[in-house]
């Protein structure tokens, strides 16, 4: 039995250093039941950091061979903001095929999904899950989990930004009065239709408010977002 994502995200919220991120990413890897999960970022000064579950041998090999220069995942994510299934990348050149063989031999897996994140002042990051699986099973996994993975990638990055040199402590993210109202009505048990009607907005608009509040609160789903809004004193019920 692995801890639920909500519990793991609480740990992420309270992380104070790279070592904590390592614990969190291992727990998330176990939760999603994939072979590997890696988060790698470059801060605004160009310094690189990482945490993840690749073997030390593979990390050393990657550096020794300078694979960064040919890795199609890096090439496919740099300066981009759309997530990529590794299948969509170009693995056709000889050097890249050899790199892939080497990666698979080191247990990276034959499948992967990577989410690029672009922070302020040139900060950027990549969040990756990789796994050994048949195409159909992987496609089903990616379809089911991609939105959670995208959100988690950004949650990691928000945390990494707190570790940026010279950065002031993060303020509790604020919700606008409209979001506070929406979350309050949800907290006291209104259905979405009732909340939309009470606020005189469409349900579509409400869905966007909730999606946005969920992200600001670092939450996994609506219930988790409501719980976080209460625990931070952003809403009172």
């Amino acid at each position: 039995m692995t801890p639920g994502v909500e519990t793991i995200l609480e740990d992420l919220e309270h992380a104070t250093g790279v070592e904590d991120l390592q614990q969190v990413i291992q727990a998330l890897r176990d939760h999603f039941g994939v072979d590997h999960m890696v988060y790698h970022w470059v801060n605004s000064d160009g310094d690189q950091y990482g945490c993840g579950t690749y073997s030390d041998a593979w990390v050393a090999r990657y550096l020794e061979k300078d694979y960064l220069k040919i890795d199609p995942v890096v090439y496919g994510c740099y300066q981009r903001f759309h997530p990529v299934d590794w299948k969509r990348l170009d693995w056709s050149s000889r050097a890249v095929r050899q790199f892939q063989v080497d990666a698979i031999e080191h247990g990276v897996g034959n499948q992967g999904y990577s989410v690029p994140v672009r922070g302020p002042n040139g900060q950027f990051a990549m969040f990756t899950v990789s796994h050994n699986a048949e195409d159909d099973a992987w496609a089903a996994f990616a379809e089911t989990n991609r939105r959670d993975l995208i959100l988690i990638a950004y949650f990691f990055n928000q945390k990494a930004l707190e570790f940026e040199p010279g950065r002031r402590p993060e303020q509790t993210p604020s919700l606008s009065p409209r979001e506070v109202e929406a979350m309050t009505f949800l907290a006291i048990g209104y259905s979405r239709a009732q909340v939309a009607q009470t606020l005189s907005i469409s349900e579509h608009t409400l869905r966007v408010y909730i999606e946005s509040a969920r992200f600001k609160l670092g939450a996994q789903n609506t219930t988790h977002a409501v719980a976080r809004a209460i625990s931070r004193g952003l809403i009172v019920v």
């Binding site: 981009r80 299948k87 892939q100 195409d135 939105r147 959100l151 966007v208």
Partner: protein, 211 residues
């Protein structure tokens, strides 16, 4: 055809790039009289064009621009949160699962089918990348066009009157809307998907066998 290009890929398509930024000057400065900046080359550009956004562009047979729009994730610096909070009830719309869509532009005389093709591309982005919502900024004329092509947004708010009005609206993916919009565009859903895969790669090819 539909091209999906990040700003740093536009240099490979100089004709498409130049005609797009000139058509934007023609639409936003000359026709709509918005307070936009046009550079020495006659290109309408703003600070968001410098953030390496993703453009979706209708490329005509002669290689020129027929219509376009510009995407950025709302989790980054973006236009709706910097400039249009008064139209979103003060809510900063912020999520990697919500992208903004701005500078919706049609070349002078472009057929409504071009607008439909661009909306079809919006659907590919929603479906292909797992994005839940698009939040768009558009002028009054587009409201009628969106309705006509079967892709009316949920309007969050509008400012200004008549043809000078600017609105912020929301779209989600729906299979029904996609079918309607494809018909209006005169493009099959399959062809639209092929253009998306030309830009972002195909999922069907077995890994390591893509020649």
């Amino acid at each position: 055809m539909l091209k999906y290009l990040y700003a740093d890929q536009l240099e490979d398509y100089p004709k498409l790039r130049d005609t797009m930024f000139r058509d934007r000057a023609d639409q936003f400065r000359d026709r709509l009289e918005w307070d936009v900046s046009v550079d020495d080359e006659g290109h309408e550009r703003d600070e968001y064009d410098d953030l390496n956004p993703l453009y979706v562009i209708w490329q005509r047979a002669d290689g020129t621009h027929g219509g376009s729009m510009r995407f950025l994730p709302t989790a980054e610096a973006c236009m709706v949160n910097d400039h249009f909070l008064d139209l979103t009830d003060g809510v900063r719309i912020e999520s990697p699962l919500i992208w903004e869509c701005t500078r919706f532009c049609l070349a002078r005389g472009a057929a409504p089918s071009v607008a439909a093709a661009l909306m079809l591309a919006g659907g590919e982005i929603l479906e292909g990348f797992g994005i839940r919502h698009l939040v768009g900024v558009f002028d009054a004329r587009m409201v009628r066009i969106y309705r006509r092509i079967g892709a009316s947004p949920t309007v969050l708010g509008s400012s200004g009157q008549g043809r000078n009005a600017i609105s912020v609206g929301l779209w989600e993916f729906s299979r029904d809307a996609q079918a309607k919009v494809a018909e209006q565009a005169g493009i099959s859903v399959e062809l639209s998907r092929m253009w998306f895969e030309q830009a972002f790669g195909t999922i069907d090819a077995p890994l390591a066998l893509t020649a």
